[in-house]
Structure formats: structure tokens, C-alpha cells
Amino acid sequence: MRTVIFRTVAPYLTSLMVLFSIFVLLRGHNEPGGGFIGGLIAASAFAIYGIACGVQAVRRAIRFHPMAISGAGLMMSALSGVFSLPFDVPFLTGIWSQTDLFDLGIVLSTVLFFDVGVYLVVVGAITSIALALEERETL
């Protein structure tokens, strides 16, 4: 499968897909998208990169073991739920705050962190499976 064309295009394709996945993740609250879909897109991006340029290249590029990314995501989602406890509302209640940075109204919420956690879990888990499967193939 490692044709020259594929290998040349793959890095651009992958970076575009990862960028797009983040875009999908962030718009998810108001438009179609969200952490789960975003995670799937990013995972397929890494799978493509792995098929084209080898598993080692992917592992180098993402620095951490994908399962660790997954774990961090789960932790992040769980912790974002704890935020609500000091406000005396049940676990996982969304807490919203608006900050004005450079005159841009940026709305931050624990829900966003929760969704980012979902994204990371999905990316990590599926990438680690895909990479482990590809590993043998490239031998």
C-alpha cells in the first residue's frame, strides 16, 4: 500500500484531518460534531499515517503512548465533573464562565473539558488498536 503518491500525500492529509477533527470537536456544542466524532476522525487520520509511513513515525509524532492519551482523557472528563461540587450542585453539572480576552468573548465551560476528554479517550483507544494491528503488517 505504500505507493509514492500515498506516502507523499499522507502527511498533508493527516494534518488536515487532525485539524478538521479539532474543528468538529469545538463546534460540536452548536453544530453537528462533538468529541466522539472528532475522535474518530483523528483516529482514522493516524491510521492512514500509520499505513502510509509506518507505525514508528506515528508513535514518534504523537509522543505519548495512545493508551496514555486515552487514560488522560478519561481522567479529564471525570475531573471536569468534580468542578461542579464546590458550587453545591450535583457531579457533572456544567459550570459556565465568560472571559473577555483581547475583546473576544470566550465562553469556557466544564462541558467543553468533558468533551475534550471524550475526544482524547476515543482517539487514544482506537489509535492504539489500529497501530498495534498495523505493527505486524509492516514487519
Binding site: 453537528p32 462533538g34 474518530l40 493508551m67 478519561l74 457531579f91 457533572l92 468533551d115 487514544g124 505493527e135
Partner: protein
């Protein structure tokens, strides 16, 4: 009670666990001297609970706590009366010395910090158990004591005997714990109360219920396993594999008394029935006799003591079951006395083992000069155990005989059992306290000398306490034994017995016991040989029975596994999907619930196109000649479905479907390459036909189900709520995503945890398969 005292009690319940957390670090910093710091925790708890003594002695129980799960009426609440307070004081008081003793006993052990941690956790669990008011809290702490006991028995986990003993204890007491849970739930259902303090006010509600016997049997299942009643006693002597501080603390002074505590606690509401007054004395008496007889056979100090502990537990159960006020007094007095002298004797056994290097009574002797403090403590404890004045053991024994007497045949029989048991315990007590210290010193123990203060502080204080409490019996009765007896009996009792002997039946029986004991002591070697011969002739005991049961269980399990889990993937798949098809279609046929066929919708040309693509994809899957083609064709059909979602206005769903389809095709293709299957599909046509029909049936089933569901009246409450509130409450226009991350966030949290765990499991599976290639690819191994 003020909120201050309330939070202090809560702190007292949590403190052992905090200390357990700190223990490893402290031990790293101060080595074995960390014991001095850690012992402050139980000491503080002791003084905190001691503060309740005057209040409880006046006859008022102290309750407190917090709401835990109000919707289920479950509270974190405690209840202090004479019974639980005495237990709490024993646990924290003896616990203080056990922590010190562990400091000396395991000095220099590489896992001493871990040991401190375990034993403090156990302390917290036991403390929680005895002061719990709510049933569920009681059960949680009950199970925690089983688990910590497992950790402590198996502390020396490199030895197989330890591991076996730990598992055995966990299995037996764990089963008992489940039985207890069921029993408590039955009681909860009968009375409607989930708190002990309220249950005690119900008087006859339990006794008159038709389910009384069920509740009784289930609760006793818990109590008898925990308190090692015959024939479930075998795990307790095996638990002596644990380091001696554990034996002294868990398996004599505290944990094994949890069952007795439970029986005593429920005596006011479950006692005084025929069943109660038959079952308890019968099992208790049998345990008493079996325990003492087996103890005679042993030569290991710890095992001798372990079997007398079994016997003592039997005696306590027997007395509680007998049910008269006097018997209850006797049980209370004996329980306290036993904790003091048995704790001492165990620590003495450990001390001898530690300093002289052996616990075998036939190899020990002449240690009195080398270890004078130990000898003194052992002697005091043995005098109490033998029931001689002026010790707490004497008070207990007098009260036992006063309670049983020879009023009728039944009590006369129990009296004989008690005399035999007590005489044999007298023998064992003095055998442990005298044999190692008197006579000639064998060469092997010549280097023995007195242990450090950490080791002898506990036995010294506890044994002296056994004397002091008896001498100041007025104070003792006022603060401890009277409130405790009143709590067990459920009515007010004043204990009067003092160390000055009165002429009468009890004293006479005491003298008989002691005489019999002295006679038996002189023949101990002969009776040991006799017991040995008898037991070898029988050649079977519950301990072997346990192994047989476990072996049988394993055999049945592996038999079932071989049949059900035979490793042929095709069979699994066919069975699974046939069952799915049956589950979908059969109910509709049986209950005549088949959906009406809807009118065929008026489709647009592009909708037709998508439909045709899906059908072509399916046909291609069925006809594909090699596996990769089949997988890719499955993708075609999946994309077509995604397109349908899109056309029907569900972009989120369609989006996800696209991604899932893509990834599943990629991953399936990768799996195929790893399985090294031949690319060609070589199923014979018949098999292929079966597969296709099963798949078709599943498809038809799901289709029918979907049709049926859409034809049912649709409850729109939820969708209306989400549509109306997604913007307002959750600040999001994408309702689907708002539901996922906000309204039903907890579900999502669970789901992503599943995703991650599934990922880990799959990763492990792949690793196992590629075990051989891993050596060629060290990078992969590292990653």
C-alpha cells in the same frame, strides 16, 4: 450530642484509614519506631470513646451520623451503647498495643510499612463494624474486615501455606458475609427499619414474622463463619499462618468476635425463641468441645491458642443462646476477659518465637530466667484463662456456672459441656504459660533473652489489666459489664459478682473444673498422643472437605468451559446470532405483535439511488469470493445507510456512521492480515447458505422491531424537554451533543471508560498473539 462531638466521632472512624495511608511513609522515615507515632491513632480513639463511658453507663445510647443516600434511606450513622462501646474500647485499646508490638515483631522487615497499613485498615474496619447503626454500613465494614484479614493472613505471600490460608479465610467469611447481607435485607423488609438502634425498639416484630427462621438462618450464616463455629471453624487455625500480631489481634481479640457481636446485638429482637435457644447452644457447645479437644493435640503454641479461641467463641455463642440474664452477664464478662488473656498469650507466643526461635512446646523450656517479664505476663494471663481468683477470668467462670447450673436436663448438659471445655482450656492455658518457661533449657534456646519494650508492653499491660479490672470489680461492672449485659439482654442488668468467692454451686463447679484441669495437665502428653491417634484414624476433617469442595468447583467450571467455550469462532458467532434472531422474532410471533406493513413511501430518485447502492452492497457481500472484498462491500452498505441518515436529517448520526464504517473496514482489514487466513473464502455452499440465512433472519428481525417501535405511540416528553432546554440550561444548539456531554454526562463518562477498557483489552489480546514476533521488534515491545 453536639456537632463537635459528632464530627470527632466521625474523625475517630476515619482516623485509622488516614493512619494507614501515612504508615508506609512514616515507616520509611523512622523504621520500626514509626510504631510509637502510629499507635497514637488508636490511643486517641480509645480516649475519645472512653469519654462516652459515663453517658452510656447511665443507660442512654449515643447515636449520630450523616445522611448518605437519602433517596434510599441509607445513612452513615453510628450507635454507641454498652455493647458497641465495650467492643470499640477493646479494639482501640488492644489495637494500640498491637501496633507497638508489630513495631518490635517485624523490626527490619522490608514490608513493615505495608503491614502497619493493613493492620490499621483492619482496625478502622472493625471499629466501623461495631459502632455501625445502619445495616449497609455494618455490611460494608463486615466485608472490609474479611478483605483486610485476607491481606494480613497472606502477608507472607511467598509461602503457599499463607496463600491457601488467606484464600480459605476469604472464601469462608466472604460467603458468610453474603449470607449476612441477605439476612439483613430480610430483617429490613420485615421491620421496615435499616438501623440497629430503631430495630431494637421493635420488640416482637421479628420473632412473630413468618420469615423469622429465614432471617435467623441467614444472619447466623454470617455470624458462624466469622466466629469460626463448628463445622466452619477450620479457617481460623489455618489463619495462624499470619504474623503473630495479626493472630493476637484479628484471630483472637477482635475480628472473630464480630460474629459473636452480631449475635449479641440481635439477641434482644431475635432471641428467646425455641430456634434461637436450640441452635446457638448446640453449635456453640459443639464448637467448645471440638476446639478444646483439637487444641490438646497441638504442640505449636499458636495453634494451641487458636483452637482454644475457637472453643471460647463456641462458649460465647452458647451463653448468648442460652438467653437468661445470668448467661448474658457471663458472656459479657467472658468476652472481655478472653480478649485480655488471649491477646496476651498470643503476644507471649510471638515473643517466645521471636526471641527463642521456636514455637514448638516440646522444644522449649527453662526460659523463666531469660524472659522474666514475658513469663510474668504469661502466668497472669493463664491464671485468668484458668478461671482462678482474683482475675477477670474467674468472674466470668463463676457467672457461667451460676447461669447454667443444674436447673433442668438441658442446662445440666450444657454445664457438663462447659466444665469439660473449661478444664481443657485450663490445661492449654497453663501448658502455654508454663511449659516454655519451666524445666531444663534445651541447647537450641540458650541465647534467648527478654525482648524489647515494644514487644512486652502489650502483654504486660493487658495481663495486669485482667487483674486490676477484677479487683476493682465495682468500677468494672458499672462502666463496662453492666451496660454491655443490658445491651445484649435488652433490659437493665446490674452485674454484682466480685472476686471474693461465695460458697455455693458455682464455686463448687469451679473447683471441679480446676481439679479436672490439673489432672488433665499432668496427662497432657498422653492425651495428645491419644488425640493424635483418633484424628489419624478418622483421617478427614472440614479442612480437607474445603479442598474437596474447591477442587470439585474447579472441575465443574472447567468442564462447563470446555463445552461452552470450545474455541471455534464460527460456532460462537452462529449461536450468538441465532439467539439474537430468536429473541427478536419469537416474541412478536408468540404474542401476535407483528407490525402492520406500512404503505410504501413515495421516494425521490436520489433516495432510490441510495437504496439501490445498499442492496448492491449486500449482494456483493453475499457473493464475494475473498474476505477482503466482503469487508469492503460491507462498507458500501454502511455508507449507504449513513447517506440515508443524512437525507432524513440526522447529520450527527450520519457523521458518526461514516466514521465508524471507515474505521471498521480499516480495522477489520488489518485484523484479516494478522489472522493469516487464506484470502479466499473456502466455505462450502451449504455453510454459506446457513450463514446468509442467519444474517438475513437477524436483519428481518431488526427491521420488524424498528417498524413496530415506530408504530407504537411515541412519548415525546423527553425530546420536548431536551429541545426546550438545550439552549436555555445547557447553552447549546446541537441537542444531540448537549445530551451526550451534559444532560446524560454520567452515561457518557461510563461509556468512555468502557471504550478505554475495551481498548486496553484488545491491545492485550493483540500483544498475546504477537508474543513471538515481539523479540524481533523491541521498539514495539517498549511502546
Amino acid at each position: 450530642m453536639g456537632t463537635g462531638a459528632q464530627s470527632m466521632t466521625f474523625f475517630a472512624l476515619v482516623l485509622p484509614f488516614l493512619a494507614a495511608l501515612a504508615a508506609p511513609a512514616l515507616t520509611k522515615a523512622f523504621k520500626h519506631n514509626a510504631a510509637w507515632i502510629l499507635a497514637l491513632a488508636p490511643a486517641w480513639i480509645f480516649f475519645h470513646f472512653a469519654g462516652f463511658l459515663p453517658e452510656v453507663a447511665d443507660g442512654s445510647g449515643v447515636t449520630g451520623g450523616f445522611q448518605w443516600v437519602p433517596s434510599f434511606n441509607v445513612n452513615f450513622s453510628w450507635f454507641l451503647d454498652g455493647l458497641s462501646l465495650t467492643f470499640a474500647l477493646l479494639i482501640s485499646g488492644i489495637g494500640t498495643f498491637i501496633v507497638l508490638y508489630s513495631g518490635g515483631y517485624l523490626k527490619g522487615h522490608q514490608h513493615q510499612g505495608r503491614f502497619f497499613s493493613f493492620i490499621l485498615m483492619f482496625m478502622g474496619a472493625m471499629q466501623g463494624l461495631v459502632v455501625s447503626d445502619s445495616f449497609l454500613m455494618l455490611f460494608v465494614f463486615w466485608e472490609l474486615t474479611s478483605i483486610t484479614s485476607f491481606l494480613l493472613i497472606g502477608f507472607d505471600h511467598s509461602r503457599e501455606a499463607s496463600r491457601r490460608a488467606a484464600i480459605q479465610a476469604l472464601v469462608v467469611t466472604g460467603l458468610g458475609g453474603l449470607s449476612l447481607l441477605a439476612g439483613l435485607l430480610v430483617i429490613w423488609n420485615i421491620t421496615g427499619y435499616s438501623e440497629l438502634s430503631l430495630l431494637l425498639l421493635t420488640k416482637d416484630a421479628l420473632r412473630e414474622s413468618p420469615f423469622y427462621l429465614l432471617a435467623l438462618v441467614l444472619v447466623l450464616g454470617g455470624a458462624f463463619t466469622k466466629s469460626a463455629q463448628f463445622p466452619l471453624h477450620f479457617w481460623l487455625p489455618n489463619a495462624m499462618e499470619a504474623p503473630t500480631p495479626v493472630s493476637a489481634y484479628l484471630h483472637s481479640a477482635t475480628m472473630v468476635k464480630a460474629g459473636v457481636y452480631l449475635v449479641m446485638r440481635l439477641n434482644p429482637v431475635m432471641g428467646e425463641t425455641v430456634a434461637w435457644e436450640t441452635i446457638l447452644p448446640l453449635f456453640g457447645g459443639a464448637t467448645l468441645l471440638v476446639g478444646t479437644l483439637l487444641a490438646v493435640r497441638q504442640t505449636d503454641l499458636k495453634l494451641m491458642l487458636a483452637y482454644t479461641t475457637v472453643a471460647s467463641l463456641g462458649l460465647l455463642v452458647m451463653l448468648t443462646g442460652f438467653g437468661s440474664d445470668k448467661a448474658v452477664e457471663a458472656a459479657a464478662l467472658y468476652l472481655i476477659a478472653h480478649s485480655l488473656f488471649k491477646g496476651t498469650l498470643f503476644m507471649v507466643a510471638g515473643l517466645i518465637d521471636h526471641e527463642a526461635g521456636s514455637r514448638d512446646i516440646t522444644k522449649l523450656g527453662g526460659l523463666r530466667k531469660a524472659m522474666p517479664i514475658t513469663f510474668a505476663a504469661a502466668l497472669l494471663a493463664a491464671l485468668s484463662m484458668g478461671g482462678l481468683p482474683p482475675f477477670t477470668g474467674f468472674l466470668a467462670k463463676e457467672e457461667i456456672y451460676a447461669a447454667l447450673g443444674f436447673a433442668d436436663g438441658w442446662s445440666g448438659f450444657l454445664t457438663l459441656v462447659a466444665i469439660a471445655g473449661n478444664a481443657l482450656m485450663f490445661v492449654i492455658g497453663f501448658a502455654v504459660a508454663l511449659k516454655p518457661f519451666l524445666g531444663d533449657m534445651p541447647k537450641s534456646v540458650e541465647k534467648a533473652h527478654e525482648g524489647p519494650i515494644l514487644l512486652w508492653a502489650g502483654p504486660a499491660v493487658l495481663s495486669v489489666l485482667g487483674l486490676v479490672l477484677a479487683i476493682f470489680s465495682g468500677v468494672y461492672h458499672h462502666y463496662l459489664s453492666s451496660p454491655m449485659s443490658s445491651a445484649i439482654a435488652g433490659n437493665e442488668i446490674h452485674v454484682h459478682i466480685s472476686v471474693i468467692p461465695h460458697m455455693g454451686m458455682p464455686l463448687l463447679l469451679s473447683v471441679v473444673t480446676i481439679a479436672a484441669g490439673i489432672a488433665a495437665y499432668r496427662m497432657i502428653d498422653r492425651s495428645r498422643a491419644l488425640m493424635d491417634r483418633i484424628l489419624t484414624t478418622i483421617g478427614w476433617g472440614p479442612d480437607q472437605g474445603f479442598d474437596q469442595v474447591i477442587r470439585g468447583l474447579v472441575r465443574v467450571a472447567s468442564g462447563v468451559t470446555r463445552v461452552v467455550h470450545n474455541g471455534r469462532l464460527e460456532v460462537y458467532m452462529i449461536v450468538t446470532f441465532i439467539l439474537v434472531a430468536i429473541a427478536l422474532i419469537l416474541p412478536m410471533l408468540v404474542f401476535d405483535e407483528l407490525p402492520e406493513m406500512p404503505e410504501f413511501p413515495d421516494l425521490r430518485y436520489y433516495e432510490w439511488a441510495v437504496l439501490v447502492i445498499a442492496v448492491i452492497g449486500l449482494g456483493a457481500v453475499a457473493n464475494a469470493n475473498d474476505r477482503l472484498t466482503a469487508i469492503v462491500c460491507l462498507g458500501i452498505q454502511g455508507f449507504a445507510v449513513a447517506l440515508i441518515f443524512m437525507l432524513l436529517g440526522a447529520p450527527d448520526l450520519s457523521f458518526t456512521q461514516f466514521m465508524v464504517e471507515t474505521l471498521s473496514v480499516v480495522i477489520l482489514a488489518l485484523v484479516m492480515t494478522r489472522l493469516r487466513l487464506s484470502p479466499a473464502d473456502h466455505r462450502p455452499p451449504a455453510e454459506r447458505f446457513v450463514d446468509i440465512s442467519v444474517a438475513g433472519l437477524c436483519g428481518v428481525g431488526f427491521g420488524l422491531l424498528m417498524l413496530k417501535v415506530t408504530q407504537l405511540p411515541f412519548d415525546t416528553t423527553l425530546s420536548e424537554f431536551f429541545n426546550a432546554n438545550a439552549r436555555v440550561i445547557a447553552h447549546g444548539r446541537n441537542v444531540v451533543n448537549v445530551i451526550i456531554v451534559d444532560f446524560r454526562g454520567l452515561d457518557t463518562l461510563g461509556e468512555i471508560a468502557v471504550v478505554m477498557i475495551a481498548g486496553l483489552a484488545i491491545l492485550a489480546l493483540i500483544r498475546i498473539r504477537s508474543g513471538k514476533t515481539a523479540t524481533h521488534d523491541p521498539e514495539a515491545e517498549k511502546a
